[in-house]
């Protein structure tokens, strides 16, 4: 990369509030992959996922004045917009019709998405993370954080008590926090 501009969270927010396109490009380059993963957790149709990702960034740009830095980080806000947009799409009538037709295709592409996941770790070299985070902890984090399931919903989905969900979530987050300090 010839030019790696690094913005602090505050700088980035300020530039975006003033409508800086270069800052927005940085935002896209930096976060589109992570948001794309969130969409792909919920929708396996790659084409539809890319449409949602595009729409999500349009919303982020157009509604940036609605972001309040005192209420949380920029990524959390972006993730919520993206996830809600994806869930809205899933609930829409046109998607339900399409989903029935594409059931078989989805079964195939879902497998390939799982394969892709392993490659992502190499890209950012955070292998330690997967070592430290147990599979069942990862599962709880992804269901909540990526797919927006409540703790009750996760409990039902995994068939485990609500208390276990809470414990696993808490442990997982503290493991991820410890990674920050190393």
């Amino acid at each position: 990369m010839p030019e790696t501009i690094k913005y602090s969270e505050d700088e980035l927010v300020q530039l975006l509030q003033s409508g800086d396109q270069t800052a927005f490009e940085y935002l896209y380059d930096h976060y589109s992959g992570a948001l794309n993963t969130v969409i792909l957790k919920l929708i396996s149709d790659q084409q539809l996922a890319e449409d949602i990702l595009q729409e999500a960034f349009v919303k982020i740009w157009n509604n940036f004045s609605a972001y309040d830095p005192t209420k949380g980080r920029l990524f959390t806000w972006m993730l919520n917009i993206t996830r809600n947009l994806t869930i809205d799409t899933l609930r829409s009538k046109s998607f339900k019709k399409q989903a029935k037709i594409q059931d078989t295709e989805n079964a195939v592409s879902y497998t390939s998405n799982n394969i892709n996941e392993n490659d992502k770790f190499d890209a950012l070299d955070i292998r330690k993370q997967t070592m430290l985070l147990k599979e069942d902890q990862k599962r709880v984090i992804e269901l909540a954080y990526f797919e927006g399931l409540t703790q009750e919903e996760i409990s039902k989905a995994l068939g485990i008590p609500l208390g276990t969900v809470k414990t696993r979530m808490r442990t997982a987050i503290s493991v991820l926090k410890k990674l920050l300090q190393t």
Binding site: Q21, G33, A34, L79, N116, K120, Y145, L176, K177
Partner: protein
């Protein structure tokens, strides 16, 4: 809730993951206001989760970024795209016009060429006819010239003995000449001054040999030309006579149709 109770409730984590209910979100906002030091805890939790998400990135195809930035920022580029087809259409027009004028020119040349072809073909045809006529006339002249020189040859032959056959009372104005070649005994007749032959009739030459008439052959006058012509030869002749006979000749002369005669 006290600060410790709030931390133990786990609401901050739910909030950081974006899965807190509206009521829970309200509670979190209240406690963040009351205990500003909680903001650091929230920030750490968010960054931890954010890093997990970033480490799970799935790069979207580059077309998404292209489409996104076109949609948001390419107002000017859209105008250019709209102008482009107009320019190309303007460029397209001179080409058909050019070909049209070429086609028109070619068509005019074709018509002109056809007219000239017709004119010159007619001229050629007329010239050809004129040439044919001229050649025919020339041939006739040559033929007649040849006949004349043949006549002259006979007349000027040094062995030729001319015999004049005078008209009988039947045709007092008629006259014919015989050129008798003394060396060969050949007989030539000049019918130039004989009257015009009635149709279906022909002059026949006779030689009187030992008092008997012997045919000297038919005189050819069918073409209207009365040239000197070669007849049958006689050894010894007492007299010559020419009678008018029916075409093709007769074995014996019709005496009352004798036109000219001469005694040797």
């Amino acid at each position: 809730m006290t600060k410790e109770e709030f931390i133990l409730s786990g609401l901050l984590e739910l909030y950081a993951m974006g899965i807190s209910s509206p009521e829970e979100t309200q509670v979190v906002h209240e406690h963040l206001d009351r205990f500003p030091e909680l903001e650091q805890d929230l920030k750490e939790t968010e960054i931890a989760l954010e890093n997990y998400a970033l480490s799970n990135s799935t790069k979207p195809s580059s077309s998404v970024k292209e489409k996104l930035f076109n949609q948001l920022f390419s107002g000017n580029e859209n105008k250019q795209v709209n102008e482009a087809p107009v320019v190309s259409m303007n460029k397209k027009y001179p080409i058909p016009l050019f070909y049209k004028s070429i086609a028109a020119a070619v068509f005019i040349l074709l018509i002109g060429s056809m007219v000239l072809n017709y004119t010159y073909f007619n001229k050629y045809h007329k010239a050809q006819n004129a040439l044919d006529v001229a050649q025919q006339q020339l041939q006739q002249k040559e033929e007649s010239n040849e006949a004349m020189s043949h006549d002259l040859e006979v007349v000027t032959n040094k062995y030729a003995m001319p015999v004049v056959l005078n008209g009988t009372p039947n045709s007092p104005d008629a006259l014919a000449k015989i050129f008798w070649m003394k060396n060969t005994g050949q007989v030539y007749v000049d019918p130039t001054n004989l009257p015009k032959v009635p149709s279906g009739m022909q002059y026949q030459l006779w030689g009187i040999v030992d008092g008997k008439p012997v045919s000297g052959g038919m005189i050819e006058t069918s073409k209207g030309i009365y040239h000197i012509q070669k007849m049958n030869s006689f050894g010894k002749v007492d007299a010559f006579a020419i009678t008018l006979e029916k075409a093709g000749g007769s074995p014996t002369p019709t005496m009352d149709q004798m036109i000219v005669s001469a005694k040797m």
